[in-house]
């Protein structure tokens, strides 16, 4: 138990540190840049205005709103205080909606789409990789190049391809959105059906993109494990091959959990862009509309939320890994 406690303690500490770093970066990075966000926004809002005092007025208002007229360190504490209250500011493009309001309506869509998609992709990829390693020969020869090629199709490319084939050409799936545009979200059967049919294409495009990379990783991991000494030993004790393959895949799959934790940040990036292609009402599309509308508070909040989501998922995966792989416990005792 001591080993586990040490491991979890380390992971929690690390989670807190990265969380703080993420908040600081999110605050500092935009402010390091030469361009003054307030004047950029004012310019956008005041375009076409001729009255100089009115422009001045707008500038003042946003300065107040952001607190950019205060010293940087004060600004930071206000930022942190507001963050803990769940106050992420007011959106420009959807004024006077609160940013936290916009984000909370989008975050559910993103989590419900990406988490299952990435997990399913991971699982399918691992199964295919394991099969490729076990069967080898023809299966492997055909599957490996396909997996390699698929893993290199960008997420948005897969999204567009699926969209064109299934929504535009075959018309078996809707083109855009999270549900039919003429509906109001409610718990009716009709609405749920619409959500499910809109879910398919974004879901499978993320799954297909993540399968390839995972399959390749799992394949080489399994080949490595299949040659391990314990395989030979278990065979000589009369254990069935099928059972031994079970050992091998379990051992090969465990490090893949860490692999997933490490690659989730990159995968989210692609998946967010895939959301844009489908105009899925999640954080990706929110970010896109925020960028197009130069909605500064919304962009800043979206990036922060995505970072926090990734941190939480990584943390959870690390914790799960500690539980399921006894090697972690042993390593902690050694250290």
């Amino acid at each position: 138990m001591k080993g586990y406690r040490k491991y979890f303690g380390k992971k929690i500490l690390w989670f807190i540190i990265t969380f703080i770093a993420a908040v600081i970066l999110n605050f500092v990075l935009p402010r390091l840049m030469p361009a003054d966000p307030v004047s950029a926004i004012t310019g956008k809002m005041a375009s076409g205005m001729t009255d100089a005092t009115a422009v001045q007025e707008i500038y003042k208002r946003f300065e107040e709103e952001f607190g950019t007229n205060k010293p940087l360190i004060t600004q930071f504490f206000i930022f942190v205080r507001n963050l803990f209250r769940g106050d992420l500011g007011t959106s420009f493009s959807q004024y006077p909606r609160k940013v936290s309001d916009i984000i909370s309506s989008a975050i559910g869509w993103t989590v419900a789409l990406q988490l299952p998609a990435i997990l399913v992709g991971w699982l399918l990829g691992n199964i295919l990789g394991a099969l490729a390693a076990y069967i080898r020969k023809g299966f492997d020869k055909v599957l490996l190049p396909i997996a390699l090629f698929l893993s290199n199709v960008p997420a948005f490319g897969m999204a567009v391809t699926l969209l064109v084939i299934f929504a535009v050409k075959l018309k078996v799936a809707p083109i855009a959105g999270g549900y039919a545009f003429d509906m109001i979200p409610n718990m009716s059967w009709r609405f749920i059906k619409s959500v499910i049919s809109h879910y398919q294409l974004p879901f499978w495009s993320i799954v297909l993109v993540s399968i390839g990379g995972q399959a390749i990783g799992m394949r080489s991991m399994s080949i490595y494990e299949l040659n391990a000494d314990y395989v030979k030993y278990a065979r000589f004790l009369g254990i069935k091959d099928r059972k031994i393959v079970g050992y091998v895949f379990r051992n090969a799959m465990l490090p893949q959990v860490t692999g997933l934790a490490l690659s989730i940040g990159t995968m989210i990036g692609g998946a967010l862009v895939a959301e844009i292609i489908f105009s899925y009402p999640g954080l990706g599309s929110t970010m896109y509309s925020a960028v197009t509308a130069a909605d500064y508070p919304l962009i800043s909040a979206t990036t922060l939320i995505i970072t926090i989501m990734v941190l939480i998922v990584t943390f959870l995966l690390d914790i799960i890994y500690g539980f399921i792989d006894p090697r972690v416990k042993a390593a902690q005792f050694d250290a």
Binding site: T18, L29, G269, I276, I277
Partner: protein
């Protein structure tokens, strides 16, 4: 060195990847020689012209003709002029008039046309048919009758108040395409701004590869420097560098990329700036792997010998460490290039790509195609070649990387 190279090129994976990448580079270099000019020049006025060969109708009308009697010419002409919708309308009308069409094959347009000319009567009023529908059938009839008329087209030229005959075009007149003064081949059609997609694609591929190379170089330089410092110097430097590296490993680089790119602003965001920013947010893997390699090298005999001989830190790193980690650095660089190209594309799709006025990039082309709904209006040529190019570049680079990995890490060989 020579031996290593031979081994590398013996790897079928590396070779395949190398050949694909070389073919892409070669195209980028050769194609502009045949088709020079500004890739962003808007040659088309409309949007999304289909891929194909376009020749000037004006020039063709006055080009010398040959007479060719081709047996299937009429049929082809009719098939081309009568759309599927027209055909369906004809059959609908026959149905309403209760004319038996079972003997006529619906695909045989000639027979269908005969039947139409025989039976259609504009004065017949069908019950329940709207006036608009009736007018539609009248227009259809007019068009169909024109097709059958054995007439000659007259090309007129206006002089003062008078029309002067310029050319007379009969159905058997043919023009040799190579005789037409203005012919434009658009193998991939035009995009939403009426630009030659192929030309744009070739130029964009070049820019994107350069972006990948800059991003890869920046990332590799930062990662290499930090990794060498952390691994070789060790101690406090190692702790600090690894602390920073670990933080940036967990915080998604893509998010930082968005934040920085947005903050820079559209005006400052040239292709090279975007490339540098990508490099700045993707060095962590190189730093990690270089560090672990250097730590395993740090206490090798040849390094210790060099230290005892009083060589400088710089020289030890350059001659005793770098050659041993070179293969890892090259592999990491290749991966950085490929992910840099992808990062640019994703950034552009978010609307945060490089400034759009000077050169196209693959990401920008994709972004334009999506903005103008190329994917929903069937203009595959505006986006599909872009996706394919990105995939092929990334595929070839990753294949090269896998090949190198197998050569340098023999345990993976199989």
């Amino acid at each position: 060195m020579k031996n290593t190279l031979r081994q590398v090129f013996h790897s079928s994976k590396f070779l395949t990847g190398f050949l694909i990448f070389a073919a892409i580079l070669l195209t980028m270099w050769i194609y502009p020689l045949f088709n020079p000019g500004n890739p962003l020049e808007m040659i088309g006025v409309g949007t999304f012209a289909q891929p194909g060969t376009y020749f000037s109708l004006y020039d063709a009308a006055t080009t010398r003709t040959e007479t060719l009697r081709l047996p299937d010419a009429d049929e082809k002409r009719i098939t081309n002029l009568v759309s599927d919708a027209d055909r369906a309308a004809m059959i609908e009308w026959f149905g309403l008039m209760e004319i038996d069409v079972s003997e006529v094959d619906a695909t045989d347009i000639d027979a269908l046309l005969d039947l139409w000319l025989e039976h259609y009567d504009p004065s017949v009023k069908i019950k329940g048919m709207t006036q608009a529908r009736r007018n539609f059938f009248k227009r259809l009839d007019k068009n169909l009758r024109q097709i059958r008329a054995a007439d000659t087209l007259l090309v007129m030229h206006q002089e003062e108040e008078e029309l002067v005959e310029k050319a007379r075009i009969t159905k058997t007149d043919y023009v040799n395409v190579s005789d037409v003064a203005n012919v434009k081949r658009l193998p991939l059609g035009t995009d939403n701004f009426g630009r030659d997609v192929l030309k744009e694609l070739v130029s964009a591929t070049g820019t994107s590869i350069v972006i990948g190379l800059i991003a890869g170089t920046v990332a590799t330089l930062i990662g290499l420097t930090l990794g060498l410092l952390a691994g070789y110097v060790g101690g406090l430097a190692d702790d600090i560098i690894m602390f920073i590296t670990n933080i940036f490993t967990v915080i998604p680089g893509f998010v930082l990329l968005i934040l920085i790119s947005y903050s820079i602003g559209q005006d400052q965001r040239g292709a090279s700036v975007v490339a540098i920013v990508i490099g700045l947010t993707s060095w962590t893997w190189t730093a990690r792997s270089v560090r672990s390699q250097v730590i395993s090298l740090r206490n090798r005999d040849h390094v210790n010998l060099s230290k005892l001989s009083g060589h400088s830190l710089f020289r030890i790193i350059l001659t005793d460490i770098l050659p041993y980690i070179a293969s890892y650095v090259v592999m990491a660089f290749i991966l950085q290039v490929s992910s840099g190209i992808l990062a640019e594309a994703q950034l552009s799709l978010l609307g945060l790509g490089p400034k759009t006025t000077v050169t196209p990039t693959l990401g920008l082309m994709m972004n334009w195609a999506m903005l103008y709904s190329a994917h929903t209006n069937g203009s595959w040529w505006a986006y599909f070649p872009v996706i394919l190019t990105i995939t092929l570049i990334s595929f070839s680079l990753n294949l090269m990387n896998t090949g190198l990995d197998q050569v340098f890490n023999p345990t993976l060989r199989d």
